[in-house]
């Protein structure tokens, strides 16, 4: 942190880090609540409002989806198959750009899922970008790099390696 930054700027940076961390936890919490709900109408507007209008959701397994309507279709497809999910978001590392209007963050995620009636282990990293618009942080680009997505009773050692992002 350059020493010429004012106390106000340094404080704003810490507040922004806290806000981005909270945003990612809200993303996980609303996704899990939506996927687990018996009468699901998900993704709902509350969840989609976490994203910028031009947001991108991308992974090595699910492909690239750009724009709020594309995201809505992607998540609706999950909702049709997934009846239980818990996204543990772990070890956040968040950087705020010097402009104060953009941020990036890295997390590990450990997920327990029921998809098509089968229990699944999923391990991934998130490498996400965020943007601040109208004083509110929004998700700009999710990059989910899935390391394994394994049937519970098979485990991850028996699974063929997944393609990796950027490979």
């Amino acid at each position: 942190m350059p020493s010429e930054r004012t106390v106000e700027q340094r404080l704003q940076r810490l507040e922004d880090i806290a806000a981005v961390r909270q945003l990612k936890h809200t993303y996980a919490k609303l996704m899990d609540a939506g996927l687990c709900h018996e009468n699901k109408a998900w993704p709902d507007d509350r969840f989609l409002a976490l994203f910028a209008d031009d947001a991108i959701w991308e992974s090595n397994v699910h492909g690239r989806h750009e724009g709020r309507e594309a995201l809505r279709a992607l998540f609706a497809g999950w909702a049709a198959r997934i009846t239980f999910a818990k996204h543990h978001t772990i070890a956040p590392s968040i950087d705020i750009a010097p402009s104060g209007a953009e941020a990036s963050g890295h997390w590990y995620t450990w997920e327990t899922i029921t998809a098509d009636g089968q229990p699944i282990w999923l391990a991934a990293t998130y490498n996400d970008d965020f943007v601040k618009r109208d004083r509110r942080w929004l998700i700009k680009h999710v990059r989910s790099n899935i390391q394994f997505r394994s049937p519970y009773h098979q485990g991850w050692a028996a699974e063929a390696p997944l393609p990796q992002m950027g490979a």
Binding site: V7, E15, F84, H88, Y152
Partner: protein, 153 residues
């Protein structure tokens, strides 16, 4: 909000995070019911839903100390904290993953938690701790074959 108030809010969020970490550690084996209950207000409530509601430090301590006989081992992996502080009151939600030995069988537990806290004489104290159990399954079964093992038997 003044700079002093904004800094205080960030400091209090970290203070609440530390209290919750201590709460989690003291309900790991070998269990420290006195230390665990000491983080609650005198009239604090621990609502474990299907595992009962415990009101007051004495009842909370008795339940935690009783874990030694019922659950000889567990660890609480708590993550994903979302903490809001408003003056001397705070709310928090987080995720939990547990590895208990129940009835001689290794289990895996998936939970979410919530809490309300009050700052009293400079210390954050839990007024209510809630738990939602999503699965507690023998490791060789998984949450589809057996979602929950009865922990109250």
């Amino acid at each position: 909000m003044s700079i002093e108030d904004r800094i205080r809010t960030l400091e209090e969020i970290e203070a609440v995070r530390r209290v919750l970490a201590a709460v989690g550690a003291t309900c790991d084996a070998p269990y420290d019911g006195a230390a665990f209950a000491g983080h609650f207000t005198e009239d604090g409530v621990m609502d474990l839903m299907e595992m009962g509601v415990y009101t007051g430090r004495a009842a909370i301590q008795e339940f935690i100390d009783g874990m030694r006989a019922r659950v000889p081992f567990t660890m609480h992996y708590w993550d994903g904290y979302a903490i809001d502080v408003d003056g001397a009151e705070a709310t928090a939600t987080w995720y939990g993953f547990e590895t208990p030995n129940l009835n001689g069988t290794a289990h895996l537990g998936g939970l979410t938690h919530d809490a309300t806290l009050k700052k009293i004489e400079g210390c954050w104290m839990v007024t209510r701790l809630g738990q939602q159990l999503h699965f507690m399954t023998p490791y060789d079964k998984g949450w589809v074959r057996q979602r929950v093992t009865d922990q109250t038997a």
